[in-house]
Protein backbone atom coordinates (compact mmCIF):
# COMPACT_ATOMS: atom_id res chain seq x y z
CA UNK A 1 0.00 0.00 0.00
CA UNK A 2 2.82 2.38 0.92
CA UNK A 3 4.51 1.71 -2.44
CA UNK A 4 1.24 2.44 -4.26
CA UNK A 5 0.78 5.74 -2.40
CA UNK A 6 4.38 6.77 -3.14
CA UNK A 7 3.90 5.99 -6.85
CA UNK A 8 0.66 8.00 -6.94
CA UNK A 9 2.23 10.86 -4.97
CA UNK A 10 5.04 11.05 -7.52
CA UNK A 11 2.52 11.06 -10.34
CA UNK A 12 0.73 13.90 -8.57
CA UNK A 13 4.07 15.73 -8.33
CA UNK A 14 4.57 15.19 -12.06
CA UNK A 15 1.09 16.59 -12.88
CA UNK A 16 1.78 19.49 -10.50
CA UNK A 17 4.91 20.27 -12.53
CA UNK A 18 3.31 20.32 -15.96
CA UNK A 19 0.18 22.01 -14.64
CA UNK A 20 2.15 24.89 -13.11
CA UNK A 21 4.78 25.49 -15.81
CA UNK A 22 2.42 28.14 -17.14
CA UNK A 23 2.63 30.23 -13.97
CA UNK A 24 6.22 31.14 -14.70
CA UNK A 25 6.62 30.62 -18.42
CA UNK A 26 3.31 31.55 -20.10
CA UNK A 27 4.17 35.25 -20.51
CA UNK A 28 7.82 34.91 -21.68
CA UNK A 29 6.66 32.36 -24.26
CA UNK A 30 3.76 34.58 -25.35
CA UNK A 31 6.01 37.59 -25.90
CA UNK A 32 8.78 35.60 -27.57
CA UNK A 33 11.27 36.35 -24.78
CA UNK A 34 12.01 32.63 -24.62
CA UNK A 35 11.35 29.84 -27.08
CA UNK A 36 8.86 27.33 -25.61
CA UNK A 37 11.31 24.44 -25.22
CA UNK A 38 14.01 26.68 -23.74
CA UNK A 39 11.45 28.18 -21.32
CA UNK A 40 10.26 24.83 -19.98
CA UNK A 41 13.89 23.65 -19.80
CA UNK A 42 14.83 26.61 -17.59
CA UNK A 43 11.69 26.10 -15.49
CA UNK A 44 12.48 22.39 -15.05
CA UNK A 45 16.07 23.03 -13.90
CA UNK A 46 14.97 25.74 -11.46
CA UNK A 47 12.18 23.58 -10.07
CA UNK A 48 14.76 20.83 -9.54
CA UNK A 49 17.13 23.24 -7.78
CA UNK A 50 14.26 24.74 -5.77
CA UNK A 51 13.22 21.33 -4.49
CA UNK A 52 16.69 20.85 -2.96
CA UNK A 53 16.97 24.38 -1.55
CA UNK A 54 14.22 24.01 1.02
CA UNK A 55 13.17 20.72 2.59
CA UNK A 56 11.10 22.11 5.42
CA UNK A 57 7.99 19.98 5.05
CA UNK A 58 4.75 20.53 6.91
CA UNK A 59 4.09 18.47 10.02
CA UNK A 60 0.49 17.99 8.96
CA UNK A 61 -0.52 16.75 5.55
CA UNK A 62 -3.45 19.15 5.18
CA UNK A 63 -1.99 22.22 6.89
CA UNK A 64 -4.61 22.04 9.65
CA UNK A 65 -7.54 21.79 7.23
CA UNK A 66 -8.39 18.36 8.58
CA UNK A 67 -8.30 17.73 12.34
CA UNK A 68 -5.42 15.28 12.24
CA UNK A 69 -3.70 13.37 15.04
CA UNK A 70 -4.92 12.54 18.58
CA UNK A 71 -8.64 13.14 18.96
CA UNK A 72 -9.00 13.72 15.21
CA UNK A 73 -8.72 11.76 12.01
CA UNK A 74 -6.02 9.11 11.73
CA UNK A 75 -4.41 9.79 8.36
CA UNK A 76 -3.79 6.33 6.94
CA UNK A 77 -2.04 5.48 3.66
CA UNK A 78 -5.45 4.42 2.28
CA UNK A 79 -6.89 7.86 3.04
CA UNK A 80 -3.91 9.59 1.43
CA UNK A 81 -4.28 7.29 -1.59
CA UNK A 82 -7.94 8.28 -2.03
CA UNK A 83 -7.12 11.98 -1.57
CA UNK A 84 -4.32 11.79 -4.14
CA UNK A 85 -6.64 10.13 -6.66
CA UNK A 86 -9.01 13.10 -6.39
CA UNK A 87 -6.15 15.58 -6.77
CA UNK A 88 -4.57 13.86 -9.78
CA UNK A 89 -7.89 13.44 -11.54
CA UNK A 90 -8.73 17.13 -11.06
CA UNK A 91 -5.28 18.18 -12.27
CA UNK A 92 -5.66 16.10 -15.43
CA UNK A 93 -9.24 17.27 -16.06
CA UNK A 94 -8.28 20.94 -15.78
CA UNK A 95 -5.19 20.31 -17.90
CA UNK A 96 -7.25 18.86 -20.75
CA UNK A 97 -9.57 21.89 -20.52
CA UNK A 98 -6.55 24.23 -20.42
CA UNK A 99 -7.60 25.74 -17.09
CA UNK A 100 -4.96 26.97 -14.64
CA UNK A 101 -6.08 25.68 -11.22
CA UNK A 102 -4.33 25.19 -7.90
CA UNK A 103 -2.73 21.77 -7.38
CA UNK A 104 -2.58 22.39 -3.62
CA UNK A 105 -6.32 23.03 -3.50
CA UNK A 106 -6.89 19.85 -5.50
CA UNK A 107 -4.81 17.90 -2.97
CA UNK A 108 -6.64 19.48 -0.04
CA UNK A 109 -9.98 18.78 -1.72
CA UNK A 110 -9.16 15.13 -2.29
CA UNK A 111 -8.04 14.71 1.32
CA UNK A 112 -11.14 16.52 2.65
CA UNK A 113 -13.41 14.17 0.72
CA UNK A 114 -11.54 11.10 1.94
CA UNK A 115 -11.50 12.40 5.55
CA UNK A 116 -15.26 13.11 5.51
CA UNK A 117 -15.95 9.55 4.38
CA UNK A 118 -13.56 8.23 7.03
CA UNK A 119 -14.60 10.38 10.01
CA UNK A 120 -17.56 12.57 9.06
CA UNK A 121 -17.91 16.33 8.65
CA UNK A 122 -16.48 16.97 12.14
CA UNK A 123 -13.05 16.12 10.75
CA UNK A 124 -13.06 19.33 8.75
CA UNK A 125 -11.75 22.56 10.28
CA UNK A 126 -14.01 25.19 8.72
CA UNK A 127 -12.12 28.16 10.19
CA UNK A 128 -8.89 27.01 8.55
CA UNK A 129 -10.79 26.34 5.30
CA UNK A 130 -12.01 29.93 5.31
CA UNK A 131 -8.77 31.60 6.40
CA UNK A 132 -6.26 29.50 4.46
CA UNK A 133 -8.15 28.55 1.33
CA UNK A 134 -11.27 30.60 0.58
CA UNK A 135 -10.04 34.05 1.58
CA UNK A 136 -6.56 33.78 -0.04
CA UNK A 137 -8.24 32.43 -3.20
CA UNK A 138 -10.25 35.65 -3.41
CA UNK A 139 -7.48 38.00 -2.30
CA UNK A 140 -4.50 36.55 -4.22
CA UNK A 141 -5.69 37.47 -7.72
CA UNK A 142 -6.89 40.87 -6.52
CA UNK A 143 -3.52 41.79 -4.93
CA UNK A 144 -1.50 40.41 -7.85
CA UNK A 145 -3.82 42.06 -10.34
CA UNK A 146 -3.51 45.44 -8.64
CA UNK A 147 0.30 45.22 -8.46
CA UNK A 148 0.45 44.10 -12.08
CA UNK A 149 -1.91 46.89 -13.20
CA UNK A 150 0.25 49.57 -11.53
CA UNK A 151 3.49 47.99 -12.73
CA UNK A 152 2.17 47.94 -16.31
CA UNK A 153 1.24 51.61 -16.09
CA UNK A 154 4.74 52.42 -14.75
CA UNK A 155 6.43 50.41 -17.52
CA UNK A 156 4.51 52.19 -20.28
CA UNK A 157 4.78 55.64 -18.72
CA UNK A 158 8.56 55.55 -18.28
CA UNK A 159 9.73 53.99 -21.55
CA UNK A 160 9.56 54.91 -25.21
CA UNK A 161 8.00 52.50 -27.69
CA UNK A 162 11.34 51.52 -29.26
CA UNK A 163 12.84 50.70 -25.87
CA UNK A 164 10.17 48.22 -24.81
CA UNK A 165 11.75 45.21 -26.50
CA UNK A 166 14.31 45.38 -23.68
CA UNK A 167 11.67 44.05 -21.29
CA UNK A 168 12.10 40.64 -22.92
CA UNK A 169 15.49 40.29 -21.19
CA UNK A 170 13.97 41.28 -17.84
CA UNK A 171 11.24 38.69 -18.28
CA UNK A 172 13.81 35.89 -18.32
CA UNK A 173 14.94 36.80 -14.79
CA UNK A 174 11.51 37.35 -13.25
CA UNK A 175 10.04 34.17 -14.71
CA UNK A 176 13.09 32.21 -13.55
CA UNK A 177 12.50 33.47 -10.03
CA UNK A 178 8.86 32.31 -10.15
CA UNK A 179 10.08 28.85 -11.22
CA UNK A 180 12.58 28.72 -8.36
CA UNK A 181 9.93 29.76 -5.84
CA UNK A 182 7.57 27.15 -7.27
CA UNK A 183 10.20 24.43 -6.81
CA UNK A 184 10.83 25.43 -3.19
CA UNK A 185 7.10 25.42 -2.37
CA UNK A 186 5.39 22.72 -4.37
CA UNK A 187 7.92 19.89 -4.27
CA UNK A 188 7.68 20.08 -0.46
CA UNK A 189 4.03 19.05 -0.58
CA UNK A 190 4.80 15.69 -2.18
CA UNK A 191 7.83 15.23 0.08
CA UNK A 192 5.47 15.80 3.03
CA UNK A 193 2.90 13.35 1.66
CA UNK A 194 5.51 10.61 1.12
CA UNK A 195 7.25 11.24 4.45
CA UNK A 196 3.96 11.10 6.37
CA UNK A 197 3.00 7.93 4.48
CA UNK A 198 6.33 6.34 5.43
CA UNK A 199 5.78 7.37 9.06
CA UNK A 200 2.20 6.01 9.01
CA UNK A 201 3.47 2.75 7.49
CA UNK A 202 6.14 2.40 10.18
CA UNK A 203 9.06 2.84 7.77
CA UNK A 204 10.31 6.07 9.31
CA UNK A 205 10.48 7.58 12.80
CA UNK A 206 7.81 10.14 13.71
CA UNK A 207 8.71 13.85 13.38
CA UNK A 208 11.75 13.10 11.22
CA UNK A 209 12.88 14.96 8.11
CA UNK A 210 12.40 13.54 4.61
CA UNK A 211 14.99 11.00 3.51
CA UNK A 212 17.37 11.93 0.69
CA UNK A 213 15.82 9.53 -1.82
CA UNK A 214 12.42 11.13 -1.17
CA UNK A 215 13.83 14.60 -1.89
CA UNK A 216 15.57 13.31 -5.01
CA UNK A 217 12.58 11.52 -6.54
CA UNK A 218 10.21 14.41 -5.74
CA UNK A 219 12.62 16.92 -7.30
CA UNK A 220 12.99 14.75 -10.41
CA UNK A 221 9.23 14.17 -10.72
CA UNK A 222 8.33 17.87 -10.56
CA UNK A 223 11.19 18.77 -12.92
CA UNK A 224 10.16 16.13 -15.45
CA UNK A 225 6.56 17.29 -15.25
CA UNK A 226 7.65 20.87 -15.77
CA UNK A 227 9.78 19.95 -18.78
CA UNK A 228 6.88 18.05 -20.33
CA UNK A 229 5.21 21.46 -20.53
CA UNK A 230 1.52 21.92 -19.93
CA UNK A 231 1.13 23.60 -23.31
CA UNK A 232 -2.66 23.87 -23.03
CA UNK A 233 -2.49 25.90 -19.83
CA UNK A 234 0.44 27.95 -21.14
CA UNK A 235 -1.74 28.79 -24.15
CA UNK A 236 -4.66 29.89 -21.96
CA UNK A 237 -2.55 32.00 -19.63
CA UNK A 238 -0.25 33.43 -22.29
CA UNK A 239 -2.72 34.05 -25.11
CA UNK A 240 -6.24 33.29 -23.88
CA UNK A 241 -6.81 36.03 -21.31
CA UNK A 242 -5.20 38.97 -23.08
CA UNK A 243 -2.62 39.71 -25.80
CA UNK A 244 0.66 40.32 -24.01
CA UNK A 245 3.48 42.65 -25.06
CA UNK A 246 6.99 42.39 -23.55
CA UNK A 247 6.41 45.32 -21.14
CA UNK A 248 3.21 43.69 -19.92
CA UNK A 249 4.88 40.30 -19.59
CA UNK A 250 7.64 41.81 -17.46
CA UNK A 251 5.15 43.73 -15.29
CA UNK A 252 2.97 40.64 -14.80
CA UNK A 253 5.95 38.42 -13.93
CA UNK A 254 7.37 41.03 -11.54
CA UNK A 255 3.98 41.26 -9.80
CA UNK A 256 3.71 37.45 -9.59
CA UNK A 257 7.26 37.14 -8.26
CA UNK A 258 6.84 39.90 -5.66
CA UNK A 259 3.50 38.56 -4.42
CA UNK A 260 4.71 34.95 -4.13
CA UNK A 261 7.99 35.87 -2.45
CA UNK A 262 6.32 38.24 0.01
CA UNK A 263 3.63 35.72 0.91
CA UNK A 264 6.11 32.82 1.22
CA UNK A 265 8.43 34.85 3.41
CA UNK A 266 5.65 36.08 5.68
CA UNK A 267 3.97 32.69 5.95
CA UNK A 268 0.72 33.75 4.29
CA UNK A 269 0.53 31.06 1.63
CA UNK A 270 -1.03 32.09 -1.68
CA UNK A 271 -1.60 29.87 -4.70
CA UNK A 272 1.00 30.47 -7.43
CA UNK A 273 -1.62 29.74 -10.08
CA UNK A 274 -4.11 32.26 -8.73
CA UNK A 275 -1.41 34.91 -8.34
CA UNK A 276 -0.13 34.38 -11.90
CA UNK A 277 -3.64 34.47 -13.37
CA UNK A 278 -4.46 37.67 -11.45
CA UNK A 279 -1.26 39.28 -12.72
CA UNK A 280 -2.08 38.49 -16.34
CA UNK A 281 -5.58 39.99 -15.94
CA UNK A 282 -4.09 43.05 -14.20
CA UNK A 283 -1.63 43.68 -16.99
CA UNK A 284 -4.43 43.31 -19.56
CA UNK A 285 -6.38 46.06 -17.84
CA UNK A 286 -3.24 48.16 -17.34
CA UNK A 287 -2.27 48.64 -20.99
CA UNK A 288 -4.28 51.20 -22.89
CA UNK A 289 -5.94 49.61 -25.89
CA UNK A 290 -5.63 46.08 -24.55
CA UNK A 291 -8.66 44.02 -23.71
CA UNK A 292 -9.26 41.19 -21.27
CA UNK A 293 -11.28 38.20 -22.42
CA UNK A 294 -13.54 38.07 -19.39
CA UNK A 295 -15.24 34.91 -20.60
CA UNK A 296 -11.94 33.00 -20.31
CA UNK A 297 -11.16 34.70 -16.99
CA UNK A 298 -14.62 33.67 -15.76
CA UNK A 299 -14.03 30.05 -16.78
CA UNK A 300 -10.76 30.06 -14.83
CA UNK A 301 -12.43 31.57 -11.75
CA UNK A 302 -15.21 28.97 -11.96
CA UNK A 303 -12.51 26.30 -12.05
CA UNK A 304 -11.06 27.69 -8.81
CA UNK A 305 -14.47 27.64 -7.12
CA UNK A 306 -15.15 24.00 -7.96
CA UNK A 307 -11.59 22.67 -7.47
CA UNK A 308 -12.04 21.66 -3.82
CA UNK A 309 -15.61 20.26 -4.12
CA UNK A 310 -14.77 18.32 -7.30
CA UNK A 311 -11.55 16.83 -5.93
CA UNK A 312 -13.37 16.13 -2.64
CA UNK A 313 -16.11 14.21 -4.46
CA UNK A 314 -13.57 12.00 -6.23
CA UNK A 315 -11.57 11.59 -2.99
CA UNK A 316 -14.74 10.63 -1.12
CA UNK A 317 -15.78 8.14 -3.79
CA UNK A 318 -12.32 6.60 -3.88
CA UNK A 319 -12.23 6.38 -0.06
CA UNK A 320 -15.66 4.69 0.00
CA UNK A 321 -14.51 2.04 -2.47
CA UNK A 322 -11.10 1.67 -0.80
CA UNK A 323 -12.92 1.08 2.52
CA UNK A 324 -13.97 -2.37 1.24
CA UNK A 325 -10.38 -3.58 1.59
CA UNK A 326 -7.77 -4.74 -0.90
CA UNK A 327 -10.44 -5.41 -3.51
CA UNK A 328 -11.60 -1.80 -3.21
CA UNK A 329 -8.08 -0.44 -3.60
CA UNK A 330 -7.66 -2.62 -6.68
CA UNK A 331 -10.94 -1.31 -8.14
CA UNK A 332 -9.80 2.28 -7.41
CA UNK A 333 -6.44 1.67 -9.08
CA UNK A 334 -7.93 0.07 -12.20
CA UNK A 335 -10.67 2.71 -12.52
CA UNK A 336 -8.15 5.54 -12.06
CA UNK A 337 -5.80 4.03 -14.66
CA UNK A 338 -8.67 3.78 -17.15
CA UNK A 339 -9.82 7.37 -16.49
CA UNK A 340 -6.27 8.76 -16.74
CA UNK A 341 -5.73 6.88 -20.01
CA UNK A 342 -9.06 8.20 -21.31
CA UNK A 343 -8.05 11.77 -20.49
CA UNK A 344 -4.72 11.37 -22.29
CA UNK A 345 -6.48 9.91 -25.34
CA UNK A 346 -8.99 12.77 -25.28
CA UNK A 347 -6.10 15.25 -25.12
CA UNK A 348 -4.53 13.67 -28.21
CA UNK A 349 -7.62 14.49 -30.26
CA UNK A 350 -6.94 18.20 -29.92
CA UNK A 351 -3.20 18.26 -29.44
CA UNK A 352 -1.49 21.47 -28.33
CA UNK A 353 2.27 21.43 -28.78
CA UNK A 354 5.12 23.88 -28.27
CA UNK A 355 4.84 24.80 -31.98
CA UNK A 356 1.39 26.28 -31.37
CA UNK A 357 2.87 28.76 -28.92
CA UNK A 358 5.65 30.33 -30.96
CA UNK A 359 4.57 33.96 -31.41
CA UNK A 360 3.97 35.04 -34.98
CA UNK A 361 6.63 37.27 -36.45
CA UNK A 362 5.54 40.28 -38.53
CA UNK A 363 7.25 38.73 -41.55
CA UNK A 364 4.64 35.98 -41.56
CA UNK A 365 1.90 38.51 -42.31
CA UNK A 366 3.60 41.44 -43.97
CA UNK A 367 5.23 41.02 -47.35
CA UNK A 368 8.31 43.24 -47.57
CA UNK A 369 7.79 46.28 -49.76
CA UNK A 370 9.81 46.03 -53.01
CA UNK A 371 12.51 48.67 -52.98
CA UNK A 372 14.05 48.99 -56.43
CA UNK A 373 12.83 48.75 -60.01
CA UNK A 374 14.66 45.43 -60.51
CA UNK A 375 13.11 43.93 -57.37
CA UNK A 376 9.61 45.03 -58.47
CA UNK A 377 10.16 43.48 -61.89
CA UNK A 378 11.37 40.23 -60.33
CA UNK A 379 8.29 40.02 -58.09
CA UNK A 380 6.01 40.70 -61.09
CA UNK A 381 7.78 37.94 -63.07
CA UNK A 382 7.37 35.49 -60.20
CA UNK A 383 3.66 36.34 -59.91
CA UNK A 384 3.16 35.82 -63.66
CA UNK A 385 4.97 32.50 -63.54
CA UNK A 386 2.83 31.38 -60.60
CA UNK A 387 -0.38 32.39 -62.37
CA UNK A 388 0.71 30.48 -65.48
CA UNK A 389 1.33 27.38 -63.41
CA UNK A 390 -2.05 27.62 -61.70
CA UNK A 391 -3.97 28.25 -64.98
CA UNK A 392 -4.92 24.94 -66.64
CA UNK A 393 -3.46 24.51 -70.11
CA UNK A 394 -5.63 23.98 -73.27
CA UNK A 395 -4.52 20.32 -73.41
CA UNK A 396 -5.74 19.75 -69.86
CA UNK A 397 -9.11 21.28 -70.70
Amino acid sequence: MVALVIALALFFDFTNGFHDTANAMATPIATGALRPRVAVGIAAVLNLVGAFISTTVANTISGGLINEGPGGVLITPTLIFAGLLGAVLWNLATWVLGLPSSSSHALFGGLIGAAIVGAGFDSLNLTVLLSKIVLPAVLAPIVAGLVSFLATRIAYATTKKRQRDGFRIGQIFTSSLVSLAHGTNDAQKTMGVITLTLIAGGFQAANSQPQFWVILVCALAIAMGTYTGGWRIIKTLGKGITDIEPAQGFAAEAATTATILASTHLGFALSTTQVASGSVIGTGIGRKGASVRWRTAGRIALGWVITIPAAALVGAGAALIAGIGWGGILIDTVAATLVFTGIFLLARRSKVTSHDLVPATPAQFVRPKPRGKAQRAAIADAARAKAALEKPSAAEL
Binding site: S54, T56, T127, V143, Q163, L177, A247, A258, T259, T264
Partner: protein, 73 residues
Protein backbone atom coordinates in the same frame (compact mmCIF):
# COMPACT_ATOMS: atom_id res chain seq x y z
CA UNK B 1 -8.49 33.16 12.65
CA UNK B 2 -8.01 35.34 9.60
CA UNK B 3 -4.62 37.05 9.71
CA UNK B 4 -5.55 40.44 8.27
CA UNK B 5 -2.30 42.02 9.48
CA UNK B 6 -0.17 39.46 7.64
CA UNK B 7 -2.27 39.88 4.56
CA UNK B 8 -1.82 43.66 4.62
CA UNK B 9 1.95 43.26 4.95
CA UNK B 10 1.96 40.81 2.00
CA UNK B 11 -0.09 43.25 -0.09
CA UNK B 12 2.16 46.22 0.70
CA UNK B 13 5.35 44.15 0.25
CA UNK B 14 4.13 42.88 -3.11
CA UNK B 15 3.22 46.38 -4.20
CA UNK B 16 6.60 47.82 -3.21
CA UNK B 17 8.60 44.88 -4.64
CA UNK B 18 6.69 44.46 -7.89
CA UNK B 19 6.38 48.15 -8.74
CA UNK B 20 9.94 48.82 -7.51
CA UNK B 21 11.49 46.23 -9.84
CA UNK B 22 9.48 47.48 -12.81
CA UNK B 23 10.25 51.13 -12.08
CA UNK B 24 14.00 50.53 -11.77
CA UNK B 25 14.15 48.34 -14.89
CA UNK B 26 12.00 50.75 -16.92
CA UNK B 27 14.12 53.74 -15.94
CA UNK B 28 17.20 51.69 -16.72
CA UNK B 29 15.83 51.12 -20.22
CA UNK B 30 14.91 54.79 -20.50
CA UNK B 31 18.45 55.94 -19.76
CA UNK B 32 20.58 53.10 -21.10
CA UNK B 33 18.34 51.45 -23.69
CA UNK B 34 18.16 52.13 -27.42
CA UNK B 35 17.21 55.61 -28.64
CA UNK B 36 19.03 57.39 -25.79
CA UNK B 37 21.99 59.74 -25.64
CA UNK B 38 25.20 58.49 -24.11
CA UNK B 39 25.28 61.06 -21.29
CA UNK B 40 22.87 59.25 -18.96
CA UNK B 41 24.08 55.75 -19.73
CA UNK B 42 25.85 55.48 -16.35
CA UNK B 43 22.64 56.33 -14.54
CA UNK B 44 20.75 53.69 -16.56
CA UNK B 45 23.32 51.01 -15.74
CA UNK B 46 23.15 51.96 -12.04
CA UNK B 47 19.37 51.53 -12.13
CA UNK B 48 19.76 48.09 -13.75
CA UNK B 49 22.20 47.12 -10.97
CA UNK B 50 19.73 48.32 -8.30
CA UNK B 51 16.99 46.30 -9.98
CA UNK B 52 19.26 43.24 -9.93
CA UNK B 53 19.93 43.80 -6.22
CA UNK B 54 16.20 43.96 -5.53
CA UNK B 55 15.73 40.65 -7.37
CA UNK B 56 18.67 39.17 -5.41
CA UNK B 57 16.88 40.24 -2.23
CA UNK B 58 13.90 38.22 -3.43
CA UNK B 59 16.13 35.15 -3.88
CA UNK B 60 17.40 35.64 -0.30
CA UNK B 61 13.81 35.51 0.93
CA UNK B 62 13.19 32.01 -0.45
CA UNK B 63 16.59 30.40 0.10
CA UNK B 64 16.78 29.38 3.78
CA UNK B 65 20.58 29.40 4.08
CA UNK B 66 20.76 32.93 2.65
CA UNK B 67 18.13 34.26 5.08
CA UNK B 68 20.58 34.86 8.00
CA UNK B 69 22.86 36.79 5.63
CA UNK B 70 19.89 38.88 4.56
CA UNK B 71 18.87 39.44 8.20
CA UNK B 72 22.42 40.65 9.01
CA UNK B 73 22.17 43.20 6.21
Amino acid sequence: MIEWGSFLVVALGSLAGGCGVVLLFSLGLRFAGPDTDGKRRGLGVTLFVLCGLLVALGVCLIVPFLAPFFARL
